[in-house]
Amino acid sequence: MSAAASYASTDCGQGGRNRQLFPLNHHNVRMSFRGNFRSGARAVAPVTVGVIPFGLIAGAAAVDAGLSGWQAVGLSMVVFAGASQLAAIELLSENANAAVVVGTMLVINLRMMMYSASLAPFLEDVRGARKALVAYLLTDQAYALSVTKFADSDVSRLPFYLGAAAPLWIIWQLCTVAGVVAGAAVPEWLPLGFAVPLTFLALLVPAIKDRATLAAAAVGGGVAVVAATLPFNLGLIAGAVLGITAGLLTESTLDIEGREVEH
């Protein structure tokens, strides 16, 4: 290693893999683990505010639906995936069978496979337990912040990711507990259960970005309404599958039209 690179790796803790010098302070040395971690934490700070109501609902709605406080916390700690937790709560309150609940949760969480694939090349050098930690903490927000940062800058990746992801985990757990505790204090006339579909609605609206996703949502919602009385929540699955199909078809149709117009 050149003298400059070895000087850079003295407090880097990254094994000198990112050998490029990136002048981040007047010492001309890469930021330490703590510095990059803080950079991630700063990036995620505004996002945590939005997570708070979601986490409170994960706690309060769970208890409202008949789960124990422990079960609510268990969902948040073991699964740690808000949208699927809320879906589970709703399904469990309707006495859906376990396979349906798990299946629905996994379908909702499938998007994380995309995040995994997208982040993997950036984190190839991370190994074993640390990589498992990266996986466990993966959320939409941690993913979005990290992938954009990694693509644009030479930041030290594992610390930045952990700095972004860990606060979200902490806030999520704290809010779940707070929701469990405070949920009992919610008055009768306040339909807190309605907050669950509202949360999904708040997530759905920005997910509709173009005509293809609009088609996916329209078909998904429409089919689910029509098929709502099917057993085993097949209406939800049918809606999801047909919605995805509608999105793909719309996308191909629009592509073909585009090509025809061009040529």
């Binding site: 496979m113 982040l119 984190l123 996986a135 309605f194 509202l198 949360t199 609605l201 920005p206």
Partner: protein, 117 residues
């Protein structure tokens, strides 16, 4: 039973998250078609989850009472209207908190004005 769900869903979700992080190198990324399909999962799944909750008649799913009268009732019911208002708020503010607050206020207000189902 809940704990069974928690455990299985936890393992499954972790596997999903870990999938490509650990497999990259053995698999050349996600096949293109699957990647295209994944793009629509949020919109389709969220809509399938959400829309039935807003179209309810007498506290139950619309599909259970497939008459014209109940369709009209569902689309003019407090939940659907509160949902439309909440969707507008979601679109304008992009804030989950605002959407939830306005939606709840709208529902409580509409039920108060027009009577709950």
């Amino acid at each position: 039973m809940v704990w069974l769900v928690v455990a299985v869903a936890g393992v499954g979700t972790f596997s999903i998250r870990a999938s490509f992080l650990f497999l990259l190198g053995r698999v050349d990324g996600i096949p293109a078609r699957a990647e295209r399909a994944l793009r629509f999962v949020p919109a389709a799944v969220l809509a399938a989850l959400v829309v039935p909750s807003f179209l309810q008649v007498e506290g139950g799913p619309l599909a259970a009472r497939p008459t014209l009268a109940s369709v009209v009732a569902a689309f003019s019911g407090p939940r659907f209207l509160a949902g439309v208002i909440a969707a507008a708020v979601a679109y304008r503010t992009e804030s989950i908190l605002a959407t939830i607050l306005v939606g709840l206020i709208a529902l409580v207000g509409l039920e108060f004005l027009f009577g709950a189902e």
